[in-house]
Symmetry: C2
Subunit: 444 residues, 2 copies
């Protein structure tokens, strides 16, 4: 099913509120309250669809984290907003985050299955395990579950959700008006999952969707995370600063996927790419500097300390990072590693690092003309470092509009990106076939 | 705030899949698979909005219950579908059910607050406690929690949700671009709820909405249920076969509401009303008989046995109901009481009762011309038996379209129903003022 697939760039728009920069909300064109306005996200998604992108993505944090006084955050429930997007778009894929630590598998399976039907087969679930203590405390916990345990629970959670998504055979809905038989319930199967973590009888209340079932997305960076991603994810978000590391990451993921019995090419790997676009390279660099300077200083230091999981007092603005930073166990290791790597490689002081990051979470930033952005994308794609990108514009919706009107046509002219949607489901866009009904073991 | 309120009929469309009749899916105009097609619900909501109705309602059962082989059921997640409706309508209120037994307060607060923002202040939460064992088994339980305990948990759950909805002062979002201060976090308050049932730190991630916070809806019939409804609900759905009983119910609810320190008139009481509309009374009665005859016989008996919580073998088709039916403790007591009352009052055999119910859950059915339906509505409203109705058309969308184009104009001509929306929020439609920020005790 993958051998004949034409290799094509896949592009996802990460609607990171009003932009990846911590200062985006201060940008002249931006409504600073847009992060709590669903209409803003719908507008961004419509821009992405105009550009024929594969999907939009909404991250999630069900709690007030990361110094909200200084910058927008994931305030709205992604499934609610994505449902609004589904009803006002026709083709764009819809990727939403939901935590396996603070939801029930039955609710998650049913909500994403409902979104998949509402959108005609365009839904995807980004699985996270939620490392933040502020979130844990909103859900009856006084502390965050240990990393390995969270991932073990996530694996089991995903198996339950997949089994629920596939609990109806496609022939179950017979709707025979004459005989008065709506369903053939012999073709709808309980899942009867029982373990110390979960007890879920099933079946789901819903049939399968035009794409079979929602696409699974993951962004694991740790060993546990990579195994979860390689084991179940069809799209993988990743953070990578260099082409070489990205090639290594892709090879590692595909090797792990093969070891789980999967076709390695069925995993679509999308590194994050922050874009700062200008008419000239100088204009783009100036725009980048301006955005860096607008990041509130208090935020930059607090955010860096949070990413590194150190006391802010340990970070001296005009010194380099401490040498012996321990890898944080219960925190985002992708961001930690990416941030430290930038500081070491570019030999930055803390002050320089804060500006360099721009509140941008350590993802790779490319500032340049539309040609230069397209060149960069093409180079990484040709080298096998990426199947496409998780695009994080500097400022939204402005940066998305520029990307779609300036960069996408260049990629299209080069034959690297679709000029029209060829199918209607997210799996179609990703070059994946409709998901066959699986026999997922739920006995883990 | 209520003294000067003009008394006006309130109408809600209950989108009970493809109609209240168990046979609606077999009706010629109906797509029998529409119950799993979100576009069907969006279409019904757009019809309701065309008729200037107050709101639409989606019930919910997160599990396969009530003999799904024979009739449609609440398959889709209501919040997902209502979010799709929100994005494709401008005024209609959006009432969705969610269970306090199988959700986290934080997720429910955030999802409904997100819907409230997406819709510009049109969201409402119908609180249920979920009595079905099939649902319990999807959420890690081997049995249903006892009735009184479920309601005690529901009361606490609602207090937490209200406190979260009000955790931001309206002045918290300052968005001062020049100073680089987005939020005044001194105006965003944790709720720090701690009990044996729930531990929720808060605050919510979202500001309050144009209507303050989502409307609360309840349909309690038991003593516990009536206290929950009178204590917190702003809209009450009820089942009532007779005008006298409905007047008694309204008086009881308002008395209880007053005892909780509430303004009794701030509770909008909407009995269920199943409508079967024909050009002539004879045509309406013929339509009703046809719908009754289309109810699959196996379903009628199985459903009745389920409502009464007895073994189907105890029900003899040509005999009356057994005399000594015990009130079911862990099941829907509203439906039980309504069903038994019809059988006794009209002296029906089981066979006659099954046909009489039509799979319609015991709600009052009026079959007649548009004039007759409007007369009935006007009479109940004038007598103080109802503030309006929860309209359950026989068949959807057909019955909703007929109600909106034939019955609504009569009510409008009589000055009983709005001809245009006067406000934009659901509280506006219901004649309620914007919810002031409360100080809800979460220490129960």
């Amino acid at each position: 099913m993958t051998a004949a697939r034409k290799r094509e760039i896949h592009l996802n728009l990460n609607i990171l509120n009003v932009g990846v920069y911590g200062s985006a909300w201060r940008w002249p064109s931006v409504d600073p309250a847009a992060f709590v306005d669903p209409a803003h996200y719908i507008r961004c998604a419509q821009i992405a669809e105009k550009g024929k992108l594969d999907a939009v993505f909404m991250a999630d944090k069900p709690g007030l984290v990361d110094h909200p006084q200084y910058r927008p955050f994931q305030a709205l429930d992604p499934l609610v907003v994505l449902s609004g997007i589904a009803a006002t778009t026709s083709h764009i894929g819809l990727i939403g985050t939901a935590s396996s630590s603070y939801n029930s598998p039955y609710n998650i399976a049913r909500r994403f299955a409902s979104l998949d039907l509402l959108s005609g087969g365009r839904a995807a679930w980004n699985i996270v395990t939620s490392a933040e203590i502020e979130i844990a405390r909103n859900f009856g916990r006084s502390d965050v579950t240990a990393h390995a345990d969270r991932y073990a629970i996530a694996r089991e959670f995903v198996e339950i959700v997949r089994a629920l998504w596939d609990s109806w055979e496609d022939e179950a809905l017979i709707a025979d008006k004459a005989q008065g038989l709506l369903l053939d319930i012999s073709k709808i199967h309980p899942i009867d999952h029982q373990s110390k973590n979960f007890s879920v009888a099933g079946p789901l209340t819903l049939p399968r969707s035009p794409q079979g079932r929602p696409v699974l997305v993951q962004a694991g960076a740790s060993d546990d995370g990579r195994n979860l991603a390689a084991g179940v994810a069809e799209v993988i978000f990743t953070l990578s600063q260099t082409l070489e590391k990205s090639i290594d990451f892709a090879a590692d993921i595909r090797r792990r996927a093969a070891s789980f019995g999967r076709v390695p090419e069925d995993v679509v790997i999308l590194p994050g790419l922050c874009t700062v676009i200008g008419d000239t390279e100088a204009a783009a660099q100036a725009r980048r500097r301006e955005l860096e300077e607008l990041v509130p200083a208090e935020y930059g230091l607090a955010r860096l300390a949070g990413t590194l999981q150190v006391d802010p007092d340990l970070l001296k603005l005009d010194e380099h990072l401490p040498e012996d930073l321990p890898i944080p166990v219960n925190h985002n290791q992708t961001m930690f590693a990416g941030t430290v790597a930038i500081a070491r490689r570019e030999n930055l002081t803390v002050r320089q690092l804060i500006r360099r990051l721009g509140g941008g979470a350590g993802h790779r930033i490319v500032a340049g003309t539309p040609e230069q952005i397209a060149d960069d994308i093409g180079t990484w794609f040709a080298a096998g470092a990426a199947d496409g990108f998780n695009i994080m514009p500097d400022v939204l919706p402005e940066g998305a509009e520029t990307f779609v009107t300036e960069v996408v046509p260049i990629l299209q002219r080069r034959g690297l990106f679709r000029t029209e949607y060829e199918g209607s489901t997210l799996r179609d866009h990703l070059g994946l076939t409709r998901a066959e009904r699986g026999r997922f073991s739920t006995a883990i």
